[in-house]
């Protein structure tokens, strides 16, 4: 069987019956529970860390205290991890937490492993600044492995897709214009999104990285993505605002690549 959780909400059915009074009741009971539980054992789960006070590491967050990736062009074995619940993110194993990571953000959260130390796992984070990393307790993670690796060569404006180290596809792509370059370094596939408000691509694959020259774009935080483009004349050119525009054939291959897969962007 497939045990990949399919997220479903009963809100569609409950919204019709959940009156404001019901919402008040829910809040009252749950706040009451929080008060009573926190007095007894609420802190045990996170080693004394109050998760409510920590910023969530999402594509919208800025985490200046996050340690930076020290090997930004290095491939890994492909290990990816999924936090089973909201977890504190630490700057070093055993040190204080500077952020938290949630099990879902753009669908389920999957992060690439870039380091191990004892019972701790270092992952790339989807927040600014680019190359942000953090340490999580391994025991609180679901571990999987992706056979894929995506390489984007800004200089030659090509994207390579590798599986188990073998090249399965290479395409001419559009990269960031000189004034809005695609940031280089190691990032990852953060989400797989169908945006009904966008017509340029049937699928958008946001990455963990952000434009270094645009603090925001189109109402978002300047998130870089892989996506299609209706005008094939852009491929092979540096014309985007930082995203990597790929041909339809490439997008079709990339849609099957697991979230958390490394995307290594270099200058070559």
């Amino acid at each position: 069987m497939s045990v990949a959780p399919t997220r479903r909400s009963v809100l569609g059915t409950l919204r019709g019956t959940l009156s404001p009074v019901a919402l008040v009741a829910l809040a009252v009971v749950l706040v009451s529970a929080l008060t009573s539980c926190s007095a007894s054992d609420g802190n045990k789960r996170s080693g004394g860390v109050d998760l409510a006070t920590l910023a969530a590491s999402t594509t919208k967050a800025k985490l200046p205290r996050a340690p930076r990736d020290t090997a930004p062009l290095q491939a890994t074995e492909g290990d990816v991890v999924h936090p089973r619940r909201t977890l504190p993110v630490h700057a070093e194993p055993g040190r204080g937490a500077f952020a938290k990571i949630t099990p879902t953000q753009m669908g389920d959260t999957w992060l690439p492993v870039v380091g191990r130390r004892g019972e701790w796992t270092q992952v790339l984070l989807p927040s600014r600044p680019n190359g942000s990393t953090g340490w999580l307790r391994t025991a609180q993670l679901e571990e999987r492995r992706t056979p894929y690796l995506v390489r984007v060569h800004v200089g030659s404006r090509r994207l390579d897709l590798l599986r188990d180290g073998d090249l399965v596809g290479t395409w001419s792509v559009a990269v960031g214009a000189p004034e809005t370059p695609t940031p280089v370094g190691r990032t990852f596939l953060l989400g797989s999104i169908v945006d009904p408000e966008q017509r340029y691509s049937p699928l958008i694959l946001p990455l963990g990285s952000h434009s270094d020259t645009l603090d925001s774009y189109g109402g978002g935080p300047g998130t870089v993505a892989l996506h299609g483009w209706p005008d094939a004349s852009v491929f092979g050119r540096a014309v985007s605002h930082g995203c990597v525009r790929v041909p339809a054939e490439a997008l079709e291959q990339l849609r099957r690549v697991p979230l958390g897969t490394l995307v290594i962007v270099d200058q070559y």
Partner: protein
Amino acid sequence: MRTPAKAGVAGIAAAVAALVVTAAPTASGDHQSGSSAYGASVGGSPGQPAVESDGSTTQTGGGHVPAQLGPLVAGGVMDLSAGNDRATAKVTDLTLGSEAAKLPQQLRDGIAKLTQACTVVEQAGPADQVLEPLNEALNQVPAVGAVVDIPTTAAAAEFCTGLLDADIVSLAKIGTLQTECNDQTGTVTLTDVEVLGAPQPALLGEVAPETQLLPEQLAPVARITLNHQTVDGENLTVEGLRLEVGGKLVAVLASTTCGGPVQHVTEVKGAQAPQPKPKPKPAPVPVPVQASAPVTG
């Protein structure tokens, strides 16, 4: 090859009232895999009552909801079973949100002001004298102002009528919450669900994995997940109801694991070098979600 279960839920049974454990042989088979089940876990502590089987026999047990769950969960009779790669955990007559809850002072004050504001609404005062005090009172009930807004006098009247009719500290009743795992398949089934006294037919029968019970707006306050499934190596764990409050795990009700519990590494003197870590399972193929994605284009 599945991971066989090892005995190791020691000390749990003794803490549970009315726990009864019996054993019966399972049907014979070439491959036996363990399983386990527990009724309730509070704040990440070991579940209780609990049963565990190495697959050779079927273990059954039962008990009551732990008293530590206090104002949140009351009542509840548990029946547990664990056998050859199959386990069930059933909780009956469960009440979420107890009438006996001792509310914090801040909540009591907030509700008192809310009730006071509603008396103005009943007197059919002018809109500006009705809505502002009412919404102000809502904002003083912790976590409520962010999710409830009363925009019109008609909505105010409806809200206040509902407030007077409902017992807002008795949240929901569940006739039966049953969790089952069978090899790598997990199901959660509900019967007789009422929220604030109103039957909820949409929540009867089998519940889809990862069903969120609470409105999204309440997520910063709490999440109640029905049928939460996780895979750890060869083991599938299915949690019937999982409650997180303020980002912290508060309780899990009716949990089953098939394939045996998570193996713990034990250091043995003179042991050989540890075996290399097994290669993780393949990562899942993503399922696109519909959302707004303002990326850099």
